[in-house]
């Protein structure tokens, strides 16, 4: 059992506050993705769990042990690094077996575990090679096999796929998910790639400026972003925003339309809708098409609605061109409302 508890962890580098009192519980065998733009503190948080960085405040628990004062090697973790960190002076075999050798595991057991994990990562034919003779993708596999060979309670991954080309990334992503589910370890995975986060995570923690702004399942984060930031960060393209002026009794004026919204607000709100949740109808926002991008499965139309940029995803067989006037209606149940003051979702 290796649940992870992060309690009030803060990190300061000089006068820069990298993390502000982070609280996060990760349950046993959960796949947790820390998602955020560069500089949001996600890697710092991972390194604190790994023990490569000491928190300025707070506690880290793995299983039922408090670990923040322990060196990395006593935490029952393994890690996959962004640049793989496959040792150039050791063969693939010795790289995968490195941790086991350090733990003084018997030769037979090292051989057994190295071979099993090499097979799992499909690199069994490369065991005698040095890392200089491997491609980026193969090095990545060695790095993962090295982590798995430790049979750790927790695997930490710091943007492990970011140095691979697009096609390889897709392939490794699926493979990684399968292998990790099989291994039954708890995983923390850092990435700035939201598609990667969506596809891998049991739960995503979206980070922004040293804080976790939302921790939820991928679908929940996508459907019900808790903050304006999340709505603007997740989704490609992200949500559309329009200002909403209250007209009383839960009614709001959004662009040229009056819509039903959350009750009780007397201050203006922000209306948000995903581009794919818009339909062409007679009753909707008046939009002028500015840019049309055919993307294969669908068509992305960037429009102007009441002076604000507004994107809509339309059927690919539609014929739309610059200057066309469309009427775009938000689908019921897909609208989010944010408080512009607190940035939090109201409904």
């Amino acid at each position: 059992m290796a649940q992870i508890e992060i309690k009030g962890v803060a990190k300061q580098f000089g006068s820069y506050q990298a993390l502000h009192s982070i609280n996060l519980s990760i349950s046993d065998q959960e796949f947790m993705v820390l998602l955020g733009a560069s500089g949001c503190g996600k890697t710092t948080l991972l390194r604190i769990v790994a023990g490569l960085e000491t928190p300025t405040e707070g506690e880290v628990w793995i299983g039922d042990r408090r670990v923040d004062h322990l060196p990395p090697r006593d935490r029952g973790i393994a890690m996959v690094f962004q640049n793989y960190a496959v040792f150039p002076h050791l063969t693939v075999f010795e790289n995968i077996g490195f941790g086991l050798r350090m733990a003084k595991v018997s030769n037979d057991e090292v051989k057994r575990r190295v071979e099993r994990n090499a097979e799992l990562m499909h690199i069994e034919q490369l065991l005698a090679r040095y890392s200089g003779e491997l491609s980026g993708g193969q090095r990545q596999r060695v790095a993962v096999a090295r982590a798995l060979a430790m049979e750790p309670d927790v695997i930490l991954m710091d943007e492990p796929l970011s140095n691979l080309d697009a096609l390889l990334r897709l392939e490794m992503r699926a493979e990684l998910k399968g292998v990790l589910a099989e291994s039954k370890t708890t995983a923390i995975y850092v990435t700035h790639d939201q598609v990667e986060a969506m596809s891998l995570a049991d739960r995503i923690s979206v980070m922004h400026q040293g804080r976790i702004v939302q921790s939820a399942t991928p679908v929940e984060v996508y459907r019900n972003p808790a903050e304006h930031f999340v709505a603007g960060f997740i989704g490609n393209p992200p949500m559309n925003f329009l200002s909403a002026v209250p007209e009383g009794a839960g009614r709001y004026r959004v662009a040229d339309k009056v819509l039903d919204g959350p009750n009780g607000a007397s201050e203006p709100l922000v209306f948000a809708i995903r581009p794919e949740d818009l339909t062409l109808s007679n009753d909707g926002f008046a939009a002028t098409v500015k840019i049309v991008e055919p993307l294969g499965p669908h068509l992305l139309a960037t429009c102007d609605v009441a002076g604000t940029m507004f994107r809509a995803i339309l059927d690919s067989d539609m014929t739309v061109k610059h200057g066309d006037k469309l009427t775009l209606a938000p689908q019921d149940g897909r609208v989010r409302w944010f408080d512009p003051e607190s940035q939090r979702a109201v409904a």
């Binding site: 023990g51 490569l52 090697r73 040792f87 350090m102 890392s131 200089g132």
Partner: protein, 281 residues
């Protein structure tokens, strides 16, 4: 002009310089070493090797190298590791540690002579604290071990920094991620040094050792200042042939013998610390 020729043009001056001041004298020296009144001969080599001082000077030179170089290697590794972990003040410490590099070897010998001689600092100190009743002549033929020790000390003090600067540069080239990976996968600080630093430092170790070992075979001024004729080495014998005995053929033969030893040791070091293809950083 064709860009392809530019690199060659740029290295031309230094190539000419080397040909003029290294290759040409080298050819002259070789000629001298092998030429006799009746054409080519090995007579000069036979002469210097069969001289009674040759075995002792060869033995002294090798012994000195065998004692000094390992001490310097260990010290420079320790110092380089310490310096590379420092944040503030790193450069200051490095500069202070490399000061001896700026002092000529004869001056270094004289500094240590000032410490060890009969009226030197060491005697004043020992006399001052009452450890000796009268000044001792440490550097006399009666104390060969102390003479040797003084030379070792002076050499370590003088020439460790040359290895240090090479190793500091080499350690700086090892990516931090390797250390972090080793740490996560259970390596203690000592294991990280043995399993990561040392193997990845092989190219720098090669350079540092080759340079240092060659210099050790050429040791002369420090030995002359501290040991005089009590501790003959190959280089002091070469000097004696050339300037005391005015036998430049024998001196040239000695010079080639030293060159031969340097080449052999260089090859041994390069082989021993070879990095297999594909295993380079």
């Amino acid at each position: 002009m064709n860009v392809r020729y530019l690199p060659y043009l740029l290295i031309l001056p230094v190539t000419l310089f080397l040909c003029l001041f290294f290759i040409y004298p080298f050819v002259l020296v070789s000629q001298q070493a092998f030429s006799g009144p009746e054409g080519p001969t090995l007579e000069h080599f036979r002469e210097v090797v069969s001289y009674w001082k040759f075995p002792i000077s060869l033995q002294n030179t090798l012994l000195l190298a065998a004692v000094v170089v390992p001490i310097q290697l260990a010290l420079s590794l320790l110092m380089a590791t310490m310096v590379s972990r420092m944040g503030k003040g790193r450069d200051l410490v490095l500069y202070v540690w490399t000061i001896p590099l700026g002092i000529s070897d004869l001056a270094a010998g004289i500094i240590w002579l000032a410490i060890f001689e009969q009226s030197g600092f060491l005697n004043s100190m020992l006399y001052g604290i009452g450890a000796v009743s009268e000044p001792v002549n440490f550097l006399s033929y009666q104390n060969p071990a102390i003479v040797f020790l003084a030379i070792v000390l002076a050499e370590v003090w003088r020439a460790t920094a040359i290895m240090l600067v090479i190793l500091v540069a080499g350690i700086g080239l090892i990516p931090k991620e390797y250390y972090e990976a080793a740490e996560v996968f259970g390596a203690s600080p000592w294991k990280r040094f043995v399993k990561i630093t040392l193997p990845l430092l092989r190219p720098s170790l090669q350079t540092a050792l080759v340079l240092r070992v060659i210099l050790a075979f050429e040791v002369f001024a420090v030995v002359a200042a501290l040991g005089g004729t009590l501790f003959p080495v190959l280089m002091s014998e070469t000097y004696a042939y050339q300037f005391d005995l005015l036998n430049s053929n024998a001196a040239a033969a000695m010079a080639l013998i030293i060159l031969g030893i340097s080449i052999v040791s260089t090859i041994v070091i390069l082989r021993a610390l070879r990095v297999p293809k594909g295993a380079r950083v």
